[in-house]
Amino acid sequence: MTGDDWLDAAKTDARRRQLPALDPMLEALARATRALRAAEWNLDAASRPATDTDETDDAPGT
């Protein structure tokens, strides 16, 4: 599943579940997931576009 497909599906489901406040958090999570998938140690990272690590800075931290 591509990141865009995942984000669309997640936001649709969150709205169906009456959780629209999740929208911006899911967008931030999507940026963090792109960074995770692009990390050079990932087995499939070479096929991913490089990602600015700063994109994780507004992720909904742990």
């Binding site: 959780l19 406040a21 958090m25 899911l26 998938r37 990390a39 994780t56 742990t62």
Partner: protein, 454 residues
């Protein structure tokens, strides 16, 4: 009888053992301090005054009969209200939990009781330990003892305040992304996250089971060692405080860990490094490769683990959670399994890079908390003229070592110009927590900065 507020654990233990003070006097002093201060600080969810007085009476009887158990005998401590204490509820500072009493003590609590510690009460926290400020709590926010408009850090907010304000001598907290070290740094205390798995987390409400740790918050390293040893179930007799030879070499993991710091924290940390160098420590740069991947790896580990823990409760009573905690838990339900697996690979890579950075150093040295205690009610702070998320920046320097399992301890190293504490973090080799405490105790002596005379 000025025992509770400013006396470190080992000093109080000497007074109790010698009979200079009774345990009942110590416990009454602690309860009086709580009665005087806690209405303004909100550190406790439950004060166990009756059971504490009864335990104190028994302790005095035992000690008078020559049955002194060791340095924790008669010492008043508090327990984060995420940890089971027999006979009282474990609330996790949430409306979600039922209020039925725990049947038995968590193992770490049972061991502290066996060592003679007196349980004074249970401490406030960020709901389910899923936050770094202590603001989202069914009991209301805990407040910083030096400035009531600020957070003491979290999630072990009440534990830190109960020690910093002199209401107890030591506390037990938990740490999934920094929840012991962050409030320890913000309040000028010592906070120890041991090696992953070293202390049992049974009887503790989980958050991220592969990241959860339990450990002590104290006024100095010697006291943290006493608590850690007791929580580990080891004997407190000779040997528990023994030191091992040190090289006095520390590695500082620039960049990343020093890239985004409040000016006051940066100044306090750099001054601390100078004091260490003046005391014949060698501090060299020792980068942690891939450190900039820390946040995204930890995020994809914790969110799905926390969601799995809370899935049933979210479905049954989602609206009973505080809004911020509920949304973060819900978000975890959308992380794909393939991304959790990627994060696990990232964890393995990062674990190796931390091992590599440790090299032949005694420990890694870095700040514990990138900002001073944040103001309550603020989501962002300015660093270098840019707004940054309080939640993200408070986790930035600590969460890596939850993922890798390395032991880490925060010790106080100075104050900002505004008078707020700055914490210095030391990271040791896995399964060498006692060795890390040796390093921390030596650094503490070199820094000559502590909230207590230890």
């Amino acid at each position: 009888m000025p025992l509770v507020p400013d006396t470190p654990l080992h000093g109080m233990a000497a007074a109790i053992q010698s009979g200079d003070v009774s345990v009942q006097e110590v416990v009454e002093a602690a309860l009086h301090r709580i009665e005087t201060l806690d209405a303004g600080l909100n550190a406790f969810t439950l004060v166990m005054d009756d059971s504490a007085r009864l335990a104190a009476s028994h302790a005095d009887t035992e000690i008078a009969a020559g049955r002194y158990r060791g340095p924790l005998h008669g010492i008043p401590i508090s327990i984060k209200d995420l940890i089971d204490v027999a006979g009282v509820p474990t609330t996790a500072a949430s409306q979600v939990t039922d209020r039925s009493p725990a049947g038995v003590d968590a193992p770490v609590v049972a061991r502290l009781r066996d060592a003679g510690a007196i349980l004074i009460g249970k401490c406030n926290l960020h709901e389910f330990a899923f936050g770094t400020t202590g603001e989202d709590s069914a009991f209301g926010p805990t407040r910083h003892p030096l400035d009531a408009d600020r957070s003491p850090g979290g999630s072990s907010s009440g534990s830190a305040v109960s020690v910093a304000a002199g209401m107890v001598t030591a506390s037990v907290g938990t740490d999934t992304g920094g929840s012991i070290r962050i409030p320890a740094a913000a309040c000028g205390l010592v906070g120890l996250k041991p090696t992953f798995g070293e202390l049992p987390t049974d009887g503790i409400v989980p958050l991220g089971p592969s990241l959860d740790h339990v450990g002590p918050l104290t006024r100095c390293v010697a006291d943290a060692r006493l608590m850690f040893t007791a929580m580990g179930g080891a004997s407190l007799s000779a040997g528990s405080g023994q030191t091992t030879p040190l090289t006095r070499r520390l590695g500082c993991p620039r960049p990343y860990f020093l890239d985004k710091l409040d000016d006051g924290v940066r100044a306090g940390f750099e001054q601390a490094l100078e004091r260490l160098r003046d005391a014949a420590w060698t501090v060299s740069t020792s980068p942690i490769r891939h450190a900039s991947d820390t946040a995204t790896v930890c995020l994809h580990l914790l969110l799905p683990e926390a969601a799995s823990v809370h899935a049933s409760s979210l479905d049954r009573q989602g609206e009973a959670y505080t809004q911020g905690v509920r949304l973060r838990l819900e978000m975890g339900r959308y992380v794909l399994a393939e991304d959790y697996a990627r994060a696990q690979r990232g964890r393995a890579v990062l674990t190796q890079t931390v091992d590599d950075a440790l090299g032949d150093h005694d420990a890694l040295v870095l700040p514990s908390l990138a900002i001073p205690a944040p103001r309550l009610g603020t989501d962002t702070v300015d660093i270098d003229g840019r707004p940054v998320s309080v939640r993200n920046v408070t986790l930035r320097l600590t969460q890596l070592f939850n993922a890798t399992g390395h032991p880490a301890v925060s010790i106080p190293c100075g104050l900002t110009t505004g008078g707020l504490p700055v914490g210095l973090q030391l990271v040791g080799r896995r399964s060498r927590t006692a060795q890390l405490l040796d390093v921390a105790q030596a650094c503490e002596q070199s820094l000559r900065f502590s909230s207590a005379t230890c």
